[in-house]
């Protein structure tokens, strides 16, 4: 990876990873039972769908855009799959394929509007968020349960990683998506075009890069990721729910940015996003293990921890950069 990018750009990523290790180490000293394979496995399982949306979001942000529709598309995808499987007796794989197609198409349409008419991505995807959420409620205002032998079978898949701990199918899928995304970002033309587009659109255009298709592609990819995250969520909960993922877009954006990607585009790493999601997840787990904070102290604690780690990340970044 470092062959393709200057080393200095890896600093934020290393700082972020260090922060995660420090956070985890500290929590392990503080709370008995924290440093266990089970907690780590749960982290990967519980954050799988956030992780997958954050991957798509990374590409959007790298291209200099933003996508607020991910929560809505995720909810739409869960309820569509659940209704097709539960209400219409489809095979889950067929239902998931339809869900993925819808998500990709939806993203592509938003990308098209943004590209063709030079509309601000914030507004178009905000519209997309409302639209997808509304459609989800049109399909079914209530959550729909899924019971299908295929789901049971998939749920049994898992790699044991310790006592009472295994990486489940959805955790494995997330990790797989991360690897594919790293490959796409750094070893394909599409990935390089995304970085170029986010770095400087005019230069990218002058260099003859396919700016239009790349931008539409980025939003289509994110639509795909959101729908895939929706499919993962149906496995996670065994149901579809039109009100799921409210505010997910902010968590996803926060993970990407904590992971060291610049909101202005052109700079960042998919791997950083993985770490960003794990940091948010670990903060949540720490608070859960403490278990003594009431609702409002919990919010304050999340804020303070977030602040602490962002400051720490900046500090580490600066120290490392200074030593160089």
């Amino acid at each position: 990876m470092s062959r393709f990018v200057p080393n200095a750009r890896l600093v934020p990523l290393m700082a972020t990873t260090l922060v995660l290790i420090v956070l985890f180490g500290f929590a392990s000293m503080q709370y008995p039972g924290f440093a266990s394979a089970r907690v780590v496995a749960n982290l990967f399982r519980d954050n799988a769908f956030l992780g997958i949306t954050a991957i798509g979001m990374t590409f959007v942000i790298l291209s200099g855009g933003i996508d607020l529709s991910v929560g809505g598309v995720l909810a739409f995808s869960t309820i569509l799959i659940a209704t097709l499987v539960g209400g219409h007796g489809w095979h889950p794989l067929a239902a998931i394929s339809v869900g993925l197609l819808c998500g990709t198409f939806f993203g592509a349409v938003m990308g098209f509007l943004i590209q063709r008419y030079e509309l601000p991505p914030f507004l178009v995807t905000l519209g997309g968020m409302f639209f997808a959420r509304g459609l989800a409620f049109v399909i079914s205002p209530e959550s729909v349960g899924i019971s299908h032998p295929f789901y049971d079978k998939v749920m049994e898949i898992g790699i044991p990683v310790g006592p009472k701990a295994r990486l489940t199918a959805i955790a494995l899928l997330w990790i797989g998506v991360v690897f594919v995304a790293i490959f796409v970002a750094h070893w394909t033309a599409f990935g390089r075009n995304v970085y170029a587009l986010g770095g400087n659109e005019q230069s990218a255009r002058l260099m003859g890069l396919p700016v239009g298709p790349t931008r539409v592609g980025v939003y289509a990819l994110n639509g795909f990721c959101s729908a895939l995250a929706g499919a993962v969520a149906t496995f996670y909960m065994g149901s579809g729910n039109p009100s799921m993922g409210v505010g997910l877009e902010l968590d996803a954006i926060a993970s990407v940015v904590i992971g060291g990607t610049l909101l202005t585009g052109g700079s960042g790493f998919v791997a950083g996003t993985l770490v960003g999601v794990l940091i948010l997840g670990t903060i949540q787990t720490v608070i859960l293990f403490d278990g003594r904070l009431n609702s409002w102290w919990m919010r304050i604690a999340i804020g303070v921890l977030l602040l602490g780690f962002i400051l720490l990340q900046r500090l580490l970044g600066r120290l490392t950069a200074a030593r160089r």
């Binding site: 509309l119 009431n294 609702s295």
Partner: protein
């Protein structure tokens, strides 16, 4: 580059608002009916202005933040803080209401300064810097009210969100005062230019001697105070501080209003009139849906359609395309 709002930056959201109002005129019963009672006007349009005051205020503050290339996600939570401080002080102390409001605004001003410092001095990306207070600020508000809804009857405080001034809701006076103040500061002094320069090109701004850190901290403080006033209005309007729910998702409405009004998220040139129009657009839309009794579950769909339609209206390319299509039809 920013040609999508070249020319009529305020014009197109205004056209959008006009079209929506025209729709209301034909399809919503009693929409333009006015009634004078106790020396003040009543009517749906007045309600829109009154309820829309919160988003208008947030949007005015947000405009300056966005003009510097930032964004403030904490405004909804800061509304909760201001409301909670005011409600707690007014019910548990004998302080006069102006002092109470002053303390509430002072508290959110401090929080705004915190946002500003994180962005300008520490150099954290605005979306994450303000995310911290978006989460924690509501916690602080709930801590103050012990997670309860604190109700109050104090007449002076209730006046802010319910009273009438010159026959119109007092909230309008507040909006105009804040807007006027901001206009004076940004258009009659070099401040507006500073803000636009910082948003356009920060490095260049620094070399030109613009105190960019001060400017950045300042806009977050201003945004926080706007949110504080909005929070006081929200609490006063229902005679209660609902710290766990007030202002939820309102940051998105405010950002929407600003962007639809013609200020680009990337920073640079800004127009507060556009933002205020955007805020009125979103409030009119909400009121229209409710008045027409659109099923709550599908309300988001027409909302999305209007958002995208207004966007397209602003797009030069789209208008040119439509023009071509219409022209061809006229020829045939």
């Amino acid at each position: 580059m920013k040609d999508w709002f070249a020319g009529g930056r305020v014009l197109y959201p205004l056209i959008g608002l006009g079209l929506l109002l025209m729709f209301d005129f034909f399809f919503v019963p009693n929409f333009f009916q006015f009634e004078v009672r106790d020396g003040r006007l009543f009517g749906t349009v007045i309600d829109i202005l009154n309820q829309g005051s919160k988003v208008m205020l947030l949007a005015i503050g947000m405009t300056l933040v966005i003009a510097t290339g930032g964004v403030d996600l904490s405004v909804g939570s800061l509304m909760a803080v201001a409301g909670a401080v005011a409600a707690v002080l007014v019910t548990r102390s004998d302080l006069p209401v102006p002092v109470v409001c002053g303390v509430a605004l002072g508290a959110v001003l401090l929080l705004g300064a915190f946002n500003g410092v994180l962005v300008s001095l520490v150099g954290i990306q605005p979306i994450v810097a303000t995310l911290i207070l978006m989460v924690a600020g509501r916690g602080v508000a709930m801590l103050l009210t012990d997670g309860q809804i604190v109700t109050f009857e104090n007449e002076a405080l209730v006046y802010i969100g319910n009273g009438a001034f010159l026959g119109l809701p007092f909230t309008l006076t507040l909006v105009l005062a804040v807007w006027g103040g901001a206009l004076l500061l940004t258009r009659r002094t070099a401040l507006g230019l500073f803000i636009e320069t910082v948003g356009d090109n920060e490095t260049a701004a620094r070399f030109c001697g613009v105190p960019n850190r001060l400017v950045k901290t300042g806009v977050y403080c201003f945004s926080a105070v706007c949110a504080g006033v909005a929070g006081l209005i929200a609490a006063s309007n229902i005679k209660a501080a609902d710290s766990s729910r007030v202002g939820e998702m309102m940051e998105l409405d405010a950002i929407f209003a600003v962007v639809v009004g013609g200020t680009a998220l990337t920073g640079g040139r800004f127009t507060m009139a556009g933002s205020v129009t955007g805020a009125l657009l979103i409030q009119t839309l909400t009121t229209t849906m409710v008045s027409l009794n659109v099923s709550p579950a599908i309300i988001p769909v027409p909302k999305a359609v209007v958002i995208v339609a207004v966007c397209l209206l602003q797009s030069d390319k789209f208008r040119a395309e439509i023009g071509r299509v219409l022209g061809r039809k006229a020829m045939a």
